[in-house]
């Protein structure tokens, strides 16, 4: 078919013309319908003719015969036939292209009038299957031919895209499935349409269909859904964000739950489906996405268990190689740069006996010649992604090579890498070199650690360092791939690591080897190696700390000038970036090579080259003086840097302080609010207290008993209170004093009374009475002074009260702490005042009592005085009597003496009475003493 040319069938053209006339002019619907049906049947065979003659008529039918779905269906089918390019049929390329051109030509003609597309869109709203289905197919065909233009028209027609989305909800599977194909075409490369489709819940619908159809076990419909999803998500960050925010990542997980004995085995369709599913995962975490977006997707892929599910597939048996490869690539991108995911990956074990880390199992494949090339590349990618921004992982890998940690029992990553480095397979050499280089990227610590690695060579020879072994192999002239790999490893290793540079230079053979390589005039194949050697030598200059006398920066530069020539050196260095494969590798991290021979550049290494090419060129060109200047500039720059760092540190500190202060401020604001509350409360309390005091004051004023000042002590200062208290204390002691004095007086009075009773015969000293009077007088004075003091205290208190009122008046804006204290003081003072009042009252009572007693005592004194005068008179009288008696006695004595003398003269003996008396008395005293001793 399709072989006939238009010319051989003139009848066809005529028939078509006749049919067109009928379509255009017949007034009978049936007649028109038959004519269109006839055109349809001819449209495949006479595509060209029908297309060029009937299109306008068919469009008119679509416009005017809206009510008859049958004629609409025929017209749409006919249009479809002339525009669509059959794909299934086998045709040679030339024929195919010609046919395509025909389709595009007619599509062009159709869409020339935009209204036609709008018309078609409106027909799609027709529910009738005979209209909707061919309509969908026609629109799909139009999109295939003139994608951008048709997209543009649909985009500006109201709800155009939204209505097409409704096709996915059509219960007739044929329409839904063809709707999927339509949407695939519609969304191709048009972000605006992709977003509208996503907005119309495409993700939800498509994921539902995928689930309904049995996920990866489903048929081509699942594939079509996945292809549409890919269209919607690829390079569309807004939709990716929507997909993530809609929690659709979680729904992807179930796609990878492959039953152990997955019944249908691995059909081609299942492989295709899974492949697309894996690609969809990768779209979400692609290294080209914004780092933030990728990171958050990686996080949710771990959280929902998607990563774990993928790792299960990774370690499962019987998985077809290409699915396994794509799974490895997917896992790579899910873990790349995400510490949590990388840590998880490091912990995955293969279910072998004994269990081996997944990393080790994968590396075994990488250095295994029999494994498919793409699989080996995938493993390398996975290893790179595991180590990307993962210092912990880098340290773990390097440590498996260090003497102290080597475990002889099991195979380690380090062993496999060393095995790969020095195997006979150049691909293994290259992969192992690059893999090891990735354990060193941006990690000077591991660069130094790796210098410690020693290798046992043949028996009886001393061990040799890994660095040495690498340079040895390099100089032995192995395959280009091997040497390129080793040179990339060495460049990575010693760059930005002066100690490693020193180690490298320390081997006397290395510099001569490099200069020889660079200066020789070698063939095309060797150009890349020459370039890499120049780079390595350049690194030796740039990162040289001048610790080896023979190989200082200056000496190496002189060497280049003498042996190679500066210009030549720079030209050779340029060979790297000029290599045809360089820019390809620079594009994306994943190592993809069309053939194993093309495996030459590593993505991370291209970054290093970019970084170093310029500075090395400069370094080589620079004279030593310039170098010195540069050195100085560098130093000042470093100083500046350190100043900046200091300032940054300062800013950071201040920032922290600010945050701290802010926190404090907010805490204080909070406190302040609380305090304001307390203040208001306390103010009302104070008011209450004041009121209470006023009432008390009034009461007291009425009672008149105690001074009113006592009531008004709120807010008295503490010192004043203390003073007051002291005064009171004094008062009290005075009172006690007074009381004791009074008691004394009482006793005095009593004794006086007793004396008075006795003094009928014996006189009492008058002075005591005068003393008593004096004391009573002084007591009165004291009482007076106390009263003075009390009135003074009253005035003091009044003063204090006044002050208190002013204090409490101004305290509203004062801090509440003060207020609280004041309040506390106030209560204590109130109680204190009450107590004092009470005391004062008792004191004044006792004082009145005392006064009464005093008055009583005074009257007693008066009585006693009269008694005393009486007694004194009596005493005077008795004294007179006594004197008289004494006179009488003296007379009689005279008379006795005269008579005694007369008797003596008469010679009559007389006894002396006095002597006898004296002797009796002394005897009595002696007796008393004896009695006391006995007691």
């Amino acid at each position: 078919m399709g072989g006939q040319s238009a010319g051989t069938q003139p009848s066809g053209v005529e028939t078509i013309q006749k049919l067109c006339d009928r379509v255009a002019s017949s007034t009978l619907l049936e007649d028109r319908r038959d004519a269109v049906r006839a055109l349809k049947s001819l449209s495949k065979k006479y595509r060209m003719e029908v297309g060029s003659q009937a299109m306008e008529h068919l469009v008119r039918i679509l416009q005017s015969d809206r009510s008859d779905s049958e004629i609409l269906g025929y017209a749409l089918d006919t249009l479809y036939n002339i525009i669509c390019n059959e794909e299934e049929e086998e045709q040679d390329d030339g024929q195919r292209r010609q046919e395509d051109d025909v389709g595009v030509q007619f599509a062009d003609k159709f869409i020339q009038d935009q209204e036609n597309v709008t018309l078609l869109l409106s027909l799609l709203e027709e529910f009738d299957f005979h209209v909707r289905w061919p309509g969908v197919k026609l629109l799909t065909a139009l999109l295939k031919c003139q994608c951008a233009q048709v997209q543009g028209i649909i985009l500006i027609s109201p709800m155009g895209v939204s209505r097409l989305m409704d096709l996915l909800a059509d219960s007739r599977e044929v329409i839904r499935n063809d709707g999927l194909l339509l949407l695939q075409q519609l969304t191709k490369g048009n972000a605006a349409i992709q977003k509208i489709v996503a907005f119309e819940n495409a993700f939800e619908r498509l994921l539902d269909i995928i689930t309904e159809e049995g996920t990866s076990d489903g048929g081509i419909v699942v594939e079509d859904c996945l292809l549409l999803l890919l269209n919607l998500l690829k390079n569309n960050s807004s939709n990716q964000n929507f997909f993530k925010e809609g929690s659709f990542i979680q729904r992807m997980k179930q796609w990878f739950q492959l039953g152990e004995e997955s019944g249908g085995g691995w059909s081609a369709q299942k492989v295709t489906n899974l492949h697309l599913m894996l690609q969809l995962v990768r779209v979400m975490v692609s290294p080209v996405n914004s780092p933030g977006a990728t990171a958050s997707c990686q996080k949710s892929m771990f959280q929902c268990g998607l990563l774990q599910q993928l790792c299960t597939i990774l370690m499962a048996t019987g998985v077809p190689a290409d699915i396994l490869t794509e799974t490895i690539n997917t896992v790579s991108e899910v873990i790349r740069g995400s510490q949590v995911n990388q840590d998880y990956f490091a912990s995955v074990n293969a279910p072998s006996n004994p269990p081996r880390p997944a990393i080790v199992v994968l590396l075994m494949s990488m250095v295994n010649e029999r494994q498919p090339f793409v699989l080996r590349c995938a493993v390398l990618y996975c290893f790179q992604c595991f180590l990307y921004k993962n210092h912990k992982g880098q340290a773990e890998i390097v440590s498996t090579l260090l003497p102290s940690t080597i475990d002889a029992q099991s195979i380690s990553a380090g062993q496999l890498l060393c095995g790969g480095l020095f195997s006979a397979d150049s691909l293994s050499n290259w992969c192992a070199s690059v893999a090891l280089a990735h354990a060193l990227h941006d990690n000077s610590n591991q660069k130094e650690q790796l210098l410690r690695v020693q290798l046992a060579t043949s028996l009886g020879k001393p061990p040799i360092s890994l660095l040495q072994q690498c340079t040895n192999i390099l100089s032995q002239g192995s395959k280009v791939q091997t040497r390129v790999g080793l040179l990339m490893l060495l460049c990575t290793w010693i760059s930005n690591c002066p100690i490693a540079v020193t180690h490298f230079l320390h081997n006397q053979e290395n510099v001569p080897f490099l200069t020889a390589q660079i200066s020789e005039n070698l063939g095309e194949d060797e150009r890349l190696v020459q370039g890499l050697c120049a780079l390595l030598l350049g690194i030796c200059i740039y990162y040289n700390d001048n610790s080896l006398e023979n190989y200082t920066k200056e000496k190496l530069k002189q060497l280049i000038e003498k042996r190679i020539g500066k210009e030549n050196f720079v030209e050779k260095l340029g060979f790297i970036t000029k290599h045809e494969l360089y820019s390809r590798a620079a594009q994306k991290p994943q190592p993809t090579f069309s053939t194993p021979e093309h495996m030459l550049f590593d993505h991370e290494f291209t970054k290093l080259v970019k970084e170093l090419e310029g500075v090395i060129t400069k370094a080589v060109h620079k004279s030593s003086e310039e170098e010195k200047k540069e050195e100085e500039v560098k130093k000042t720059l470093e100083q500046h840097d350190s100043i900046v760092t200091q300032y940054k540190e300062l800013i950071r500190e201040q920032d922290a302080q600010i945050t701290e202060l802010k926190e404090q401020v907010s805490a204080l604001v909070c406190q302040k609010e609380q305090m304001d509350n307390t203040i208001t409360q306390q103010q009302s309390q104070i008011q209450q207290h004041k009121d209470q005091y006023n009432i008390l004051k009034l009461k007291l004023g009425k009672d008149g008993a105690v001074s009113q000042a006592d009531v008004q002590v709120n807010g008295v200062q503490l010192e004043e209170l203390t003073a007051l208290r002291l005064e009171l204390e004094e008062l009290r002691t005075q009172h006690t004093l007074l009381q004791t004095q009074l008691t004394e007086k009482d006793t005095l009075i009593n004794s006086l009374k007793a004396e008075a009773a006795q003094s009928a015969e014996r006189p009492a000293p008058a002075s005591e009475n005068t003393e008593l009077l004096k004391e009573v007088e002084s007591l009165r004075v004291q009482v007076q002074s106390q009263q003075d003091e009390i009135s003074q205290l009253q005035s003091e208190r009044q003063e204090l009260q006044r002050r208190t009122q002013t204090v409490s008046g101004s305290s509203s804006d004062g801090e509440s702490a003060k207020l609280r204290e004041l309040e506390k003081r106030l209560t204590t003072q109130t109680t204190e005042t009450h107590r004092l009042q009470e005391e004062l009252r008792t004191h004044s009572e006792s004082r009145t009592q005392l006064e009464k007693e005093l008055a009583a005592a005074n009257s007693t004194v008066v009585i006693l005085q009269t008694e005393k005068t009486k007694l004194q008179q009596e005493v005077g009288e008795s004294k007179k009597e006594q004197d008289d008696l004494l006179m009488l006695l003296a007379d009689q004595d005279q008379k006795i003496l005269f008579l005694k003398q007369k008797l003596k003269d008469l010679g009559e003996p007389i006894e002396d009475e006095d002597d006898l008396d004296a002797r009796d008395q002394s005897d009595e005293e002696d007796d008393d003493e004896e009695e006391e001793d006995d007691e």
Binding site: F127, P158, V161, F242, E245
Partner: protein
């Protein structure tokens, strides 16, 4: 992660009124001083809480430029809420509200909640539209109204949350057909089972049932 409801919003209004800034302030709590002209639409999302329920807001920030108007129209139908924004310092953006509202009413479902927003309230000195005028317009057309500043974040949260509250109330009243996702409302995974009988409002536009 889990939400009780999901609401779809759109933000519409003249170019430069601050639609993207409002969204950025709401999702990222940031302000973007440079006008980054929106091309087509941009998507943003955030979770909020209403009545103790987690509600996920999915927001489509549209381009205000005339040339993107037809694209914007595609977003009305599936939205449950719309923030219609004008700039209080530019009267013309206020004058265009009628056109925006006509467009919205024509293409959206009748229950869509529209919040009128007078943005840039921080620029009081350059104000051209009085707050009362915004209030009057909103009252006249049955919209909720608020003045916001995407710069100072004043009322930004409230604008998005109050719109959600209004939608939430409509759901409670049974006005929204929450089983028709075309309304821009979705019930969260754990709530789907309990809330399946609410219906009302308009049905889907697409035909259901029938077979060839």
């Amino acid at each position: 992660m889990a939400y009780a409801y999901l609401f779809k919003y759109i933000i519409i209004g003249d170019t430069g009124v601050g639609k993207s800034c409002l969204l950025l302030q709401f999702t990222d709590k940031r302000f973007q001083p440079v006008h980054d002209l929106t091309i087509g639409v941009e998507f943003g999302a955030r979770m909020i809480t209403i009545d103790g329920k987690q509600i996920k807001l999915q927001i489509w920030d549209t381009a205000g430029q005339e040339s993107f108007r037809s694209i914007t129209r595609s977003y009305y139908r599936g939205a449950a809420g719309a923030l219609l924004v004008y700039d209080i310092t530019r009267r013309d953006t206020f004058n265009h509200l009628t056109t925006w509202l006509e467009d919205a009413r024509q293409h959206s479902n009748s229950n869509m909640v529209i919040m009128l927003i007078g943005n840039k309230s921080d620029l009081e000195s350059r104000r051209e539209v009085k707050k009362e005028e915004g209030e009057a317009f909103a009252r006249e057309h049955g919209l909720i109204f608020m003045e916001t500043s995407a710069k100072t974040a004043s009322n930004v949260e409230e604008a998005f949350i109050n719109t959600a509250k209004e939608i939430y109330e409509k759901i409670q009243e049974g006005v929204f057909d929450i089983n028709n996702e075309a309304n821009g409302i979705k019930i969260g995974p754990q709530h789907a089972a309990t809330n399946s009988t609410l219906s009302g409002g308009q049905g889907g536009q697409q035909a259901g049932g029938g077979c060839c």
